[in-house]
Symmetry: C2
């Protein structure tokens, strides 16, 4: 027994030690993650401080006697409103604030009405009638909340409507000054909402419209990044055989986030509609057009997902077959990449440009070239099974050309609907006789704002093409 006792003690000590070590490592992990979050996005720290400051500011109503005398305990509603309404983005905060204020106002008025009607039926009938009103209003509005359109924009307002209606009508049973109470509630809700909105907009605001704008541009860039490196990757792996696999291939995975971005884009567009004019985003900015571009980008990402799977395909097409299509395939992927990246720059800088069109035209020409190569047959002696991945790749690249063209069209529609600026025109004397060339030069090649654009354009004559030949861009721009 004497031996067991210290053993037991040791055991429990060990247990305690391992528990505390576990807790410690969990805490450590938690803090590390918080620090990483703060470093990655300092704006989130600022948001947290903004929320704290607003709550502190609003609670002053409670501390100062002259203010407190006006509101009484209702002053608490202002603090509550700030906690609930203050969101990270301006759109979400404004949306919630407006929803809450409007709902409180309408529901408060209706609640007073319901209370008045109920009092007519005497002290016993009043609670019964109010209960019936509450049941009907709560059930109806809860059901309306299921409508997708309502859910997207007014969900919070409808919830607040039920809340305020029940609050005001029920309170009336104990508190005869129902109108006074409803007004106090409305005032404090307005104070809380306005404090949140003002704080949210005035100090380093996070516009969700800007986030959506940038995300769409980033998505196009990610597609471009994949296509830029894809052809090299695909054709090199077969030629050099497993060589260079150690280098960074993250650009090949970037597009994956686009595959599932639909919901977040839709939420962002819904919230962005609440935001007032800011920066170069006007009132009634065409947010829906961003969703259109986003959808097309996603369709392109699906094709890229299929393309990506052939990178890891077990069946490897023999080099002699690949070598026949390497040129047009590389061309398509490079030119589509450039087109997508230029479109991303167009969106990011909000400046119209026709450089993307040039790259789209180039990629289309390369596609025609690829088709003609395929038409002439690749190599008749090779077994078709080995050709399948190459054929599928070629076919997908052809589809990506179509996709890129559609994206370009959608971005051009966005340009005109959002009234993007034109790049500064520069007069080129040589071309003054030809107005269409002239215009193209104004917007396109001479546009100084593009970074990624290599300054050569490929001419296409018939089926073949010669690279690195510098010609005026307008020749290819049909």
């Amino acid at each position: 027994m004497e031996v067991e006792s210290p053993n037991h003690q040791e055991k429990s000590r060990g247990w305690f030690k391992s528990l505390s070590e576990k807790l410690w490592s969990k805490m450590d992990d938690f803090v590390r993650r918080l620090i990483k979050l703060g470093k990655d996005d300092p704006k989130k720290i600022v948001h947290a401080i903004k929320v704290g400051l607003t709550i502190t500011f609003v609670s002053i109503f409670y501390y100062f006697d002259p203010l407190f005398d006006g509101f009484g305990v209702s002053a608490m509603w202002a603090v509550l409103t700030v906690v609930v309404v203050f969101e990270y983005s301006v759109g979400a905060t404004l949306g919630k604030g407006l929803n809450r204020m409007l709902a409180t106002m309408v529901a408060g008025a209706l609640g007073i009405g319901a209370h008045r009607i109920a009092t007519l039926s005497g002290h016993t009938g009043e609670p019964i009638l109010i209960s019936v009103f509450n049941l009907i209003v709560a059930a109806t509005v809860t059901f309306v909340r299921f409508l997708p359109k309502m859910k997207a924009r007014y969900d919070y307002g409808l919830m607040m409507f039920i809340l305020t209606f029940c609050l005001v009508s029920v309170s009336g049973y104990r508190d005869d000054e129902v109108i006074h109470m409803a007004i106090k509630r409305l005032t404090t809700v307005i104070i809380g909402s306005c404090a949140s909105v003002i704080m949210c907009i005035c100090i380093w605001p996070a516009w969700i419209g800007v986030d959506l704008h940038n995300q769409i541009a980033t998505n196009l860039e990610k597609l471009g990044n994949f296509l830029e490196g894809y052809a090299d990757e695909y054709f090199k792996v077969s030629v050099d055989d497993q060589d260079g696999r150690s280098k960074d291939k993250s650009f090949l995975e970037g597009y994956k986030s686009i595959l599932t971005s639909k919901n977040s884009e839709e939420t962002m567009a819904n919230l962005a509609r609440w935001e007032p004019r800011h920066g170069r985003f006007r009132y009634r900015h065409p947010w829906k057009q961003y969703l259109k571009v986003g959808t097309l980008a996603r369709e392109c990402a699906y094709k890229i997902e299929a393309l990506h799977s052939y990178l890891r395909s077990e069946i490897q097409t023999p080099p002699e077959v690949r070598n026949r299509i390497v040129e047009p395939c590389t061309m398509i992927s490079k030119e589509s990449s450039k087109a997508l990246k230029e479109l991303a720059t167009t969106i990011r800088k909000m400046t119209r440009s026709s450089i993307p069109d040039i790259h789209v035209a180039n990629s289309k020409a390369a596609a025609e070239n690829l088709k003609s190569i395929l038409k002439s047959g690749l190599s008749k002696d090779v077994d078709l099974l080995l050709v399948v991945p190459a054929a599928a790749t070629a076919s997908l690249l052809l589809e990506i050309v179509t996709c890129t063209e559609k994206i370009a069209e959608a971005v051009h529609e966005l340009e005109s609907r959002a009234r993007f600026k034109r790049a500064k025109p520069r007069v080129i004397p040589d071309h003054q006789d030809d107005s269409s060339h002239h215009q193209l030069d104004q917007q396109g090649i001479t546009n100084g704002s593009h970074d990624h654009h290599d300054d050569y354009v490929i001419t296409i004559d018939g089926n073949g093409y010669s690279s690195n030949q510098v010609v005026p861009a307008s020749r290819n721009h049909v």
Copy 2:
């Protein structure tokens, strides 16, 4: 002037008429949509009524004097809690309710502590110290809310934490009975939350776990539906040329919803974890495994998306080439379809089955057959451009076979982790000498629960295969 006046009146009358007509049509549209919503899902109507009843029930605390005397105006918090906590699904309601109760308890206690410390610094120092506390707590917790893990499960609780902490600590300045207030708040919150949870669970509950379970099964069915009709569609369009386009093709579009289902599945899995044991769903049901199956289904849907695009391809492969691959392609798509549908049935009925494995084996055999046909070459005289879509289709079908196999594996893991029942064994005398065949028959072919399974299995000998030949399934099950 006399002429203009009636004209003006008429104009304003016309304007008023058109406005009222517009309003009327909008209202009409709104009501129609509500009715459609109710018809499509009567459970939503029931939910709305449940919310109304719970609110009415909780407001009784306000009407009855003995109950009101205990809580006073705080009784209002119970109504408020019901409005905010009561969600459609049990998981969401329980999650919010538990979050709210726990947060109110912890934050209430901390708030009282903060108030006590603050009172030590005198009447002037108190508000300053409380403000500092509030600032620190609100900012820290708001920042913690950004952590993805916290956001997924405890977002509402963290918000309630800030709210209650501020409420209790600030109220302490005017109300000396802080402890009493905190307890009243906690009690009313508990009453509201419990009323919501009980009502939500007891009357026609909507388990989000069941929804996730069914959605995953439906997704597999949708993939199966596409593949079932795909081959007929693809090969018929070329042979009959545009014939039969008028018939219902909705099965070809069903898979599209899977492409973007990631977010909703993740949310559902997060909420399902809150739900207690119900029906055949135990405590610690492997919800994450559903997400795994869902992800694989999505990968398969990406391939199907690519496959779908070839249905509308401009380039049509000549019939003589198509005819060479029509058999194995049809076989792959039909057998994969059956496998996926059987997997869906397995999930839906929560009964283990090895029928899917048989179909997977069949589709793999067909894939080998397709490969050997491709190896022998399709038709050397045809231009390769026309072969590309067929080759790409074949290649995608080969990948779908791999995908289906992966899905089958994931579903089998789900079966064992969620402890699905085995189908009732039935002894077949002919096979009693071979235990592995015997077992297969027990689970597979003789399982009476499958509806979609045609009772023949295809034998594979070498590269070729003969269809419609009835053999014991176990022969193909490697």
